[in-house]
Symmetry: C2
Subunit: 125 residues, 2 copies
DNA sequence: CTAAAAGCTCACATGGATGTCAGAGGCAAG
DNA sequence: CTTGCCTCTGACATCCATGTGAGCTTTTAG
């Protein structure tokens, strides 16, 4: 498939796909005239890349980690595997933090609603 | 306390504290000579702001939400409360997404380790 | 064949929180 | 007073994934 189709299948913009390639995250074969072509695997690949982006990894970090996916058990994936574990832990900590923040929001909302209910039950209004 | 102390107590940079004020998130009283002064409440306030930032809210959104904390049950907190609920939901979805991503990482790591174990058990190496 | 749609490269723009620098003034201790 | 540290404002710099536009070529549909 060409880049436009990959874009619409993944929800990434054409611009982003070219950027991923520039960063070494996504490979493409080129037609005789220079157009990029992708196999169906590309969809999964892009999805993973997007997933890692939303997990807060930078393109550099993603580039460090992906070899582990491409060439499992190769020597050079030692570092990748370690990096992956490290990012996994960072992610876990981040998730925990977000959950605390959600709890804080819930607390604020509850306090607000309680306050509001009290007002409604009392004098003026 | 002055800005430097608030910064070191919260871990925020002095630059950031001034930025928060500029965005209407953090109030300060000024000394006769123009220096900012804060009460102890400022520490909690800044902590909340940071929490919301790491939850992915923009300063604009935080500004919309904070009135709900400052003036619970005021009319103008109606919108704030709604916004808060909305951000809470967004945050929940984001957390769920991050958990899926962590699961994906776990899967990749497990596959890699399995592959590696198989290699070690077989021919060459 | 022709026109529309899609691709290519290059390069500059954007947004948002922060960093950083410059120049000036405030304030406490020796 | 002076020295050193803190603070002030204002402005410019940075990072990084994307958006955007120009100018040109390829592909596809009618």
């Amino acid at each position: 498939m060409r880049i436009g189709e990959l874009a619409s299948r993944t929800g990434a913009s054409v611009r982003s796909l070219r950027y991923y390639e520039e960063q070494g995250l996504l490979a493409s074969t080129r037609s005789a005239r220079g157009q990029r072509h992708y196999t169906d695997d590309g969809v999964e690949r892009v999805t993973l890349i997007q997933r890692l982006y939303t997990a807060g990894l930078s393109s550099r970090t993603i580039a460090e980690v992906l070899p582990c996916v491409d060439a499992p058990s190769e020597d050079n994936s030692d570092a990748a595997l370690e990096r992956m574990a490290q990012e996994r832990d960072r992610l876990s900590a981040h998730i925990a933090d977000l959950i605390r923040t959600r709890d804080a929001l819930d607390g604020l909302m509850a306090a607000n609603r309680a306050h509001r209910a009290k007002l409604r039950a009392s004098p003026a209004c």
